[in-house]
Subunit: 428 residues, 2 copies
């Protein structure tokens, strides 16, 4: 680590130095926050919510400057960057909802007694210092700060440089909340520089930062996953499948697919590919295509699907590996559960897959055969969401193999330690 830090210094000394200072302050704040009782953390969250409301004019003015400076950006980007009174209010309410959630710190996750009388207790504790790297949406910073604060973690927020003024105004409200609760203001920090090198310094800060959470497009997340020396919780993409099994209820399949694909097309839990059993495709596929066409969806279909609906555009192999995030559905006809599993393994992103069937055995075979973070039986893939899971809020969705998978909420922002209670035991 020492070597890595000195390497950073050679590359970009000032930026690395500012990261080192921010991380050292965050480490000290995290020790205080880890020991902070729930009322103190909730008080900081509620005070921050009040501060957000009180400073809404300043936040909107800062956001206006960001928007004025952000020229030549796509309409979608402009929309993500734009704050409105309603969006500021939503941020404040989000913090109040986090305050109302149970404290994840200090929970006894497991406890057992050994034959020698030792009582072994696994207890939840904060992870420590979290680095949050996100893109243009400034409200992501407030949500992440609230979740980190409640879970006892210090956080360093590095948002998109286009939203720097908005992020600073929002952070001022978060810091006001910490101050009112008597908690260290270093518990929630924003990058002191918009220099892109600061992200690189964060990713090299093993030992200084305990976890990196990237939120944004595939290119950002992939860069973070490729470069980070710090553990990462993230998903690069959500290439989700809905598999309609031969024994599916037709009406249920039509309702679930329409929701899974079209409720919101830009979310990571949106279905991108329909897999449908050959036995049911001739009777059901036309209705599914008509339903989605009426909702404005377009298609990429394999040869077997086009044999049933010849007017569908042909899909190439690449289409099945594409996360459309749009009103587009890839369609493949398959021969049973194993073929559906093989397709998801080959093209999927281990995010979320659903099976629609009345056959419990087929459902179990599908769910047990998946390695994806979330598998659903007779439900829409769009349920992959921290709120829908009952976590109250989420900081992101993880598709890696370690620590946490699926929605990452307060409990997943904790690690654990053991507390062993003895009466003088020594080891033979």
């Amino acid at each position: 680590m020492g070597r890595r830090r000195s390497a950073v210094t050679i590359v970009d000394g000032d930026v690395a130095a500012s990261l080192n200072v921010a991380a050292r302050d965050a480490r000290a704040a995290s020790a205080q926050l880890a020991a902070a009782p729930r009322p103190l953390k909730d008080r900081a969250l509620l005070a921050a919510a009040a501060a957000l409301r009180a400073s809404a004019p300043d936040i909107l003015a800062a956001n206006g400057e960001d928007l004025a400076a952000a020229t030549g950006l796509s309409a979608a980007f402009q929309d993500r960057l734009t704050l409105t009174p309603a969006r500021v209010e939503a941020m404040a309410q989000g913090l109040e909802e986090i305050a109302a959630l149970p404290d994840p710190v200090g929970r006894t996750l497991a406890e057992w007694t050994r034959p020698n009388g030792l009582v072994i207790r696994r207890v939840a504790q904060p992870i420590g210092v979290i680095g949050m790297v996100f893109e243009s949406r400034p409200n992501v910073g407030a949500d992440a700060a609230g979740l980190c604060l409640k879970s006892g973690n210090a956080v360093i927020l590095r948002g998109g440089s286009d939203s720097a003024r908005s992020s600073a105004a929002i952070n001022a409200a978060m810091v006001a909340g910490l101050r009112e609760a008597g908690l260290s203001e270093a518990a929630v920090q924003i990058a002191p520089t918009s220099d892109r090198a600061f992200v690189g310094a964060m990713l090299r800060a093993a030992g200084l930062i305990d976890l990196i959470i990237p939120r944004g497009g595939k290119s950002l997340v992939t860069r973070v996953q490729d470069e980070s020396r710090v553990p990462v919780l993230a998903h690069a993409e959500g290439l989700c499948h809905t598999y309609i099994h031969a024994a599916a209820d037709h009406a249920m399949a039509r309702a679930i697919l329409a929701n899974a694909k079209m409720r919101r097309t830009g979310v990571c839990g949106a279905t991108e590919t329909l897999l449908i059993d050959a036995a049911i495709a001739p009777t059901l596929l036309p209705a599914l295509v008509d339903d989605l066409t009426a909702l404005g969806c377009r298609f990429r279909a394999d040869a077997r699907a086009r044999a049933i609906r010849p007017e569908l555009p042909a899909a190439n192999d690449e289409d099945f590996s594409t996360e459309w995030l749009d009103s587009v559905l890839s369609i493949a006809v398959v021969d049973g559960v194993d073929a559906a599993l093989a397709h998801t393994r080959r093209h999927g992103s281990e995010h979320t897959e659903a099976i629609v069937t009345e056959d419990a055995e087929a459902a179990a075979r599908f769910l047990n055969g998946l390695s994806s973070a979330v598998g659903l039986w007779n439900a829409s893939t769009q349920f992959c969401d921290g709120g829908e899971f009952g976590f109250g809020a989420e900081i992101g969705i993880a598709t890696g193999r370690m620590h946490a998978r699926g929605p990452v909420g307060l409990e997943q922002l904790c690690t654990y330690r053991y507390q062993v209670i003895g009466t003088g035991q020594i080891r033979p």
Copy 2:
């Protein structure tokens, strides 16, 4: 990842290619192993144990060749490298013990029902492909292979090149077990080359290998932690503290310290530093020093301890950051729980610390103030061990902040996924 792999190819093409083949075969084997029912896995373990016994002569012969080739090595190294009939039998018994342990795969870790009727189930599943990097002790390979097999993970074992012949002979027995159970022989593989570059290729194999577990000295583990692009579970050192609080029972403190320091001095859970409250030091420290001196221990003491026992050698700051792994104890006199916590934070390795006291409030303050993986109250630090925790066996001890901390057993070799059971729910 693609970029990283091609980068490997430029550096050392053949080695990287052989790693890629091994990892691809391991991935396929891991899918089969993840779905394998317990009886099949246990059968493979028991058959491997039988094969180890049957091939003991070959294993010992191969080990003899390794020892003959290993010239100019320390006595300690020679001992770690040496296999005996007893050590081969211990390996076989170890596999039988793992077979007797419960299957960690498929456990329901949590289950709840949402207001909309969705049943959400968090289910344990294997991590996937594990890369094990260890040094000269060949039996580590058998233990690790057994734990990975039982937990449904494929493993690529890269032992020290000095033990290559021994490792190959042991691996033949593991593969014989897999074959007899009808499981893929690629589930347990050893590095096809003793080229050191193979380790580097493993550490760069993000996406091909899911987890790296290094077992060995600090230099090996630190190199792995510094270079790995793959998540790592490990501890670089175990700089463990025993803190004797003012309200400690004297007899208990003497028994615990003697055990924590001297039972075995070379294990990571051995106490390296004694912290003792100033209030109790004048009366208790002399007895502690006499006890340990009689057991052959030497000392490095701070000024306040030397004021009580002037003949003790003086400790410098570096001594308190040194993992002796030997009959040496650093001693510091402190003023209460917070001072003891501050010392462990400054010098410790977040591995294991113990407090000895009759004061429950002080014990709670100490245990809750620790960020170490394991904290003990009135027990020896040498209890930090998977067997002592009731895990049956451990593949290592982790001191990082993510996934698992403390002893890493079968349950910690699993990750989880969600299975969501619906009745046609769509998201509003």
